[in-house]
Symmetry: C2
Subunit: 120 residues, 2 copies
């Protein structure tokens, strides 16, 4: 039931922009809670990479006096990975194309993360 | 001589916005090449955290089909860390305040990174 609600939020998010290729809700220890991924992406790999980035992002934010971790963005030549905290125990990860309008992706991700935090 | 030129670029960058608190040029293995940091930040710590984020960012971008790593951003409740590749062997890291206008910081950082890449 909760998983269906989460998948519905992810479907809405992926549908909100043609530039969003995949999204997932991941526990802070790297386990997938819900996901809408293309067949080319492996759930476990997405979970593991996101969890590692979060752990290190958290540590970096603390060590460099940036406070509590809220978001991590990785930009590659072929697109973006955007991780946004959805409450304390989970993270929304969004994969977007290289030509994505970043402001819009940030906005949509933050709104979806707030909805997800309420459900979890 | 090159270090002076780099420090001059960093000084210009830090002076371009009151929201930029610190900046540094770091080799991809985490050694500081040049930096303009406040006394509250330790050079070695900045280098180490940036190198770790870059290594993992690089790996994440590859594993999640995002191509070659270009930037990593960490947003905390008290501010941003923005890492931008400056050529192959170095990275420009910028620390900005929480209320920074992100678009402007991205733009200034990318321009500075291009200048740095030419010098290195």
């Amino acid at each position: 039931m909760r998983e269906e609600m989460l998948v519905s939020i992810l479907n809405d998010l992926n549908g909100s922009s043609a530039d969003i290729e995949a999204s997932a809700v991941i526990s802070t220890d790297g386990l997938i809670i819900a996901s809408v991924l293309p067949a080319t992406l492996d759930e476990d790999r997405v979970g593991a990479m996101n969890a590692a980035m979060l752990t290190l992002g958290d540590r970096s934010a603390q060590e460099l006096n940036r406070g509590e971790l809220e978001q991590v963005m990785v930009k590659g030549s072929d697109g973006y990975i955007l991780m946004t905290h959805a409450g304390r125990d989970a993270v929304l990860s969004v994969l977007a194309k290289a030509n994505a309008k970043l402001g819009l992706i940030f906005l949509d991700a933050r709104r979806a993360a707030e909805q997800i935090a309420k459900i979890l």
